[in-house]
């Protein structure tokens, strides 16, 4: 990199008097930067500061604790649940979206899209209550079908997966429908015209074109499930180990004296997990979308 291009040396040769004028356009980003500092910067500083202090002295004990025993179980439980919800939700959401997009009934399409828009924002206590009333231990459906005697319980890992899918699938539908609409009928016909069958069309054209969107959807679903708290708290309390539940637990003082900052360490762990997900996602995204640039 020692070879300098003549373009760069030219101004210097000319006397160096005319530096390019500094643009003031960065000023427009000041409000955004202020927002970012307030909303992300300040909490991050607090988290970092708290994580690495115990009883007033600098220490890594919080981090070590957060990666042991019940805390580690909770963290892994969250990752497992979120990954399952993300993958299953993305698959089912995509198939549902494809069914809707190819349907000849306009009304069905409108209905599903509207419902998806609403349901994808359904969460928290109301969602938990809706499920408890329907499929809880004495829920309407549970009683009507006698599911409790068949060993059914909503208050475990699988029950939670089901409830999370309830808002994740609609979210995936909302995300992929525009992408599916963007698949031009000419592509399919051109593929057929070149001898491809339906599977070959999807394998070589349809799925690759959708991949950037699908990956984005998976990450979105993962994030949504990973960060969810209220629904899980209302439904399972402490019976399913989840990192958000553990954080709440620790924050409300349910820890050994002096270990309050473990909650902050757990938050940091969550940030790291999110970072790892992005570290996998971004290169994949870049690779799958290279034809867009």
């Amino acid at each position: 990199m020692t070879v300098q291009s003549p373009v760069h040396t030219a101004p210097a040769a000319a006397g160096g008097g005319s530096r390019p004028k500094k643009s003031k356009s960065w000023l427009a980003t000041v409000p955004l930067l202020a927002f970012v500092v307030l909303v992300f910067g300040v909490p991050l500083v607090i988290i970092l500061g708290g994580t690495f202090t115990r009883e007033g002295t600098l220490s890594a004990a919080n981090v070590t604790d957060s990666l042991q025993g019940a805390y580690l179980t909770a963290l892994l439980g969250s990752v497992k649940l979120s990954a399952l919800v993300a993958v299953v939700g993305a698959l089912l959401g995509t198939f549902l979206a494809q069914a809707v997009v190819t349907s000849r009934f306009r009304l069905l399409r409108e209905a599903v899209l509207t419902a998806s828009g609403v349901l994808s924002n359904f969460g928290g206590i109301p969602l938990a209550f809706a499920w408890i009333a329907t499929l809880g231990n004495s829920g309407v459906v549970t009683s009507a079908l006698g599911l409790d005697s068949a060993g059914w319980s909503l208050y475990n890992f699988w029950g939670l997966t089901l409830v999370y899918l309830y808002f994740s699938i609609p979210l995936m539908v909302v995300v992929v429908v525009p992408a599916l609409d963007g698949l031009r009928p000419q592509w399919r016909e051109a593929a057929q015209n070149n001898g491809a069958n339906t599977w070959q069309y999807w394998r070589h054209v349809g799925i690759p074109v959708l991949t950037p969107t699908l990956l984005g959807g998976v990450v979105l679903l993962f994030g949504g499930a990973f960060a969810a708290y209220a629904t899980a708290a209302a439904m399972v309390g402490g019976t399913v180990p989840l990192v958000t539940l553990q954080i709440a637990n620790a924050l409300s003082g349910n820890v050994l004296i002096g270990h309050e900052n473990v909650a902050l360490a757990l938050s940091l762990d969550m940030i790291v997990v999110a970072g790892l997900v992005m570290a996998v996602y971004l290169p994949l995204q870049r690779r799958s979308a290279r034809w867009l640039r």
């Binding site: 016909e189 051109a190 593929a191 057929q192 001898g195 070959q200 070589h204 054209v205």
Partner: protein, 359 residues
Amino acid sequence: MNGAKVELRGLRRNFSGTTALDGLDLTIEPGELIALLGPSGCGKTTALRCVAGFEQPDEGAVLIDGADITRVPANRRDAGMVFQSYSLFPNLSIRDNVAFGLRVRKVAAAKRHARAQELLELIGLPQIGERYPHQLSGGQQQRVALARALALEPRVLLLDEPLSALDAKVRVTLREEIRRLQLSLGITTIFVTHDQEEALSMADRVAVLRAGRLEQVADPATLYDRPTTAFVAEFVGTMNRIPGKLSGRTVTVLGQDLPVEGDVPATSDVEVLVRPETVIVTPDPSSEAMILVSSFRGSTSRLRVQLGDLEMLADVPGHDTVRLAPGTRVRVELVERPVLVSASSDVAAAVPVSEHDVV
């Protein structure tokens, strides 16, 4: 000869109420380039899609070299198709687009890349194999689409208005190129267009469609000079409609008696169809008629002449333009040759005299 013979027999297709094809019969000879011409909605695309296999006719059959392929699925037909626009696979490089059909057929990578390169050279774009479709201009994209359609060496080539999304200049060069390629490959080609100039300049024969039926099929010169129906006469080229009186097979128009060819309507009040280039205009200060507008086109000038209530178009040699300026009184005559006539009420049959490119 690499081309196949294509026969459309009594094709009929209904779309919930609208009849797209209403018994279309057409035979395309091996190696021929035929243009399907007609107003919007007359069924050109539907006919082409029946040949490609994307559309199933309700009745009738499509035959390739005598074999009925009506029920053969699209991906097993021996016809390459170029779509109107945006049909290249966006996620594949140009080379992979062209080689797509070979990949589907599991041809080895080296071999299909070589073939793709060959085709890219054929269309005059040997250097763009690594690029992606969105990095090409519209004209380049259509060339690549053509290369892709030719990759499997089909014996029939189908083009559905492949040039309509391009600007005029690219359109002309590209259509010449398509024609050159088509001739050198000897591939039977069906070219859908609603641009009559495109049809007349490229095709061996032009088939004019009207409401899902074949109106006339003939070579360009015959179609222009000897249209068999008023519809064709008006759709292809520009036509004046001048009132006349019919008696037997002679019509009296502008004081001249001219022989009539083609169908003769039952009424005696008819309109005579006259091409602008068969109208003779000479300066005559004592005449009623007057030139309203003159537009110079190089070798010819098109005049709009007022004659009583009537306005008509006349093409005169370019060098006469000076004598025939707007405001000049002129005498109008018709060249003595057989003319087509239609009943006066038949005006809705085709486009009116006011052609789009007229001053």
